[in-house]
């Protein structure tokens, strides 16, 4: 069946038309090859250095040996702060936009701001974070300054995902709840939010992935070149995977020697981000299917 279908498609494209068909097809193929190559290169060259010590030990001997544990932990901490900042705020903003606000000039302005916020270059967030969180608020270069900076950066992701989730909750549920005498907050809390949880979770994971991979915003807000100890409070500086990769590939005094470590770091980072993104994509597909089935 499928084979026939493919034949039919090609049969529709006769003679010189086939050139066009293949042009479009190869374009997509090229994109996939680029992606495949990047993943393959990092995987094949990085897998060799991955072992228990690499994951669980700190760098040693001027960062030419040892592992990347502090960078993993640092990234973990900073993304937790990011999400703790961006998700509640993002969900609340989405609830405002979708459940409370009267659609008009003001909500259009909020939405436009949101889309423009999404387009602000990451290094500009870095500048903002440095001026506001590090200096003005006096956090100093720290987990919390970097986490808030990344939180601002991921806010559009979480708001958009949360709003998409809220929109898919059927209006009939809201009407049913209102008709029973529920207040708006009760409607949101008891009927809308429980339905929107998978979507909000998707946004959270996407936000995590985004925050885990960003380097520019944390350059001056808290990421450290090397720390002999793990961060012990939200005021501590921290090592982070992407920043570690940046250092290992451009700033280290013996770049050729630490290349394998750089590959290993890249592999860990890519694996982490890809798993998060894939989880988000699958989760979203599941609830979109569920919505499509009307359940």
């Amino acid at each position: 069946m499928k084979l026939n279908r493919r034949k039919n498609i090609i049969a529709e494209w006769r003679g010189s038309e086939l050139i066009g068909y293949w042009l479009l097809r190869l374009s997509l193929l090229l994109v996939l090859i680029i992606l495949g190559f990047i993943i393959f290169d990092i995987f094949s060259k990085g897998i060799g250095v991955i072992n228990w010590e690499f994951i669980t030990a700190a760098p040693r001997v001027g960062m030419t040996e040892g592992g990347i544990f502090p960078a993993i932990i640092g990234t973990f901490y900073v993304t937790i702060i990011t999400v703790a900042f961006a998700v509640p705020l993002g969900v609340a903003a989405a609830i405002y936009l979708n459940e409370y606000a009267i659609q008009g000039t003001f909500t259009r302005l909020v939405r436009m701001s949101l889309r423009n916020l999404a387009g602000v270059p990451s290094i500009v967030f870095g500048l903002f974070g440095m001026a506001v969180f590090v200096k003005l608020f006096g956090f100093g270069p720290s987990l919390i300054a970097a986490g808030f900076t990344l939180g601002l950066l991921t806010l559009p992701v979480t708001v958009t995902a949360a709003e998409e989730a809220l929109i898919t909750v059927p209006r009939a549920y809201r009407a049913g709840s209102f008709a029973l005498g529920a207040t708006r907050w009760q409607v949101v809390r008891t009927v809308v939010l429980p339905r929107a949880i998978p979507g909000i979770l998707t946004g959270t994971i996407l936000g995590l992935a985004r925050a885990a991979g960003e380097t520019a915003p944390i350059l001056a807000t808290g990421a450290a070149f090397f720390l002999p100890y793990l961060p012990d409070s939200i005021k501590s500086q921290f090592m982070a995977l992407p920043y570690h990769l940046f250092i290992m590939s451009t700033q280290h005094h013996a770049l050729a020697i630490v290349r394998p470590i750089a590959y290993g770091t890249a592999l860990v980072l890519v694996t982490l981000v890809c798993i998060l993104n894939l989880a988000a994509v699958l989760l979203r597909k599941r609830y979109r299917d569920r919505v499509a089935k009307g359940l």
Binding site: I9, E12, W13, E17, Y21, L23, L24, R25, S27, L28, L30, V31, L32, I34, L35, D41, I42, L89, A92, A93, I95, Y96, Y100, M112, S113, R115, N116, L117, A118, G119, V120, P121, I123, V124, G126, L127, F128, A131, K135, V159, T183, R184, W185, R210, G213, T215, A216, L219, P242, Y243, L245, F246, S249, T250, L269, V270, V273, C274, N277, V281
Partner: protein
Amino acid sequence: MRSITEKIMRVIFWLSGIAIIVFLTGILFTLLSNSIPAFTEIGIKPFFIEGLWRPGAYGEPTYSINNFIVGTFMVTLGALAFAVPLGVAAAAYLSEIASPWERELFKPIVEVLAGIPSVVLGFIGLVVLAPLIAKLFGIPSGINALNGAILVGIMALPTIITLAEDAITAVPSDYRHASLALGGTRWQTIWKVTIPAAFSGITAATMLGMGRAIGETMTVLMVTGNMIARPSSFLDSVRTLSANIAIDIGDVVFGSIHFHALFVVGLVLFLITFIINLLADILIHRKPEVNK
């Protein structure tokens, strides 16, 4: 009791909505207010006249970002030159030709591409693409504008593909059927009917891709060489606006003229991307919303 909770929650949500606007204007305000000392000390013109960025120069520091603007646009336009045709073609394949299972499979893969951290792409550019470019053009180093353009193009691809695909899919199938019914071939239909009908969406996709490319930091920082001199070709090293901030941000003295000059660079970067995003936004939302 219940109405108090209701009122509190209403205020919380309202504040959260306001917060979005406050953040965006807060960023602009921070950039502006921190730029003003630089403007009063140096003036506005010296940032844009021909010259070099030498904030540390003994005696006569200069703050021209002229070359960085050139560098930024070289990398960006170079990136779009291959990312737009490739992205739109891939999007056309996905929405017009691909079977449902292909779409189901490939679209998430494109999203994965979007998720690759820019620092990883920069690393690939450094260790894979740079030697390749050096060998291909017979030059000593492949760390240059071309390398940056290719990688930034790859970064912009997912944005362009996703938005262009949305735009193409949104073209009413009536158009296609009309064209096919008139005896148009599939290629003619895509090339002469569907893509032109999706033109404004594709333009918006290009512009958002452009916004991403201009703001991209880590990749260009790692692979373009960051020379402050004016580049004369794609095989020269360039420094972009964003890379310049990233390079200096680490060890700038807080409150110095240099510090404030960095915010001027940030302000320029913000305004360029803001205008591009705004235009794209207007393009996408130009059509009146049917209902809500």
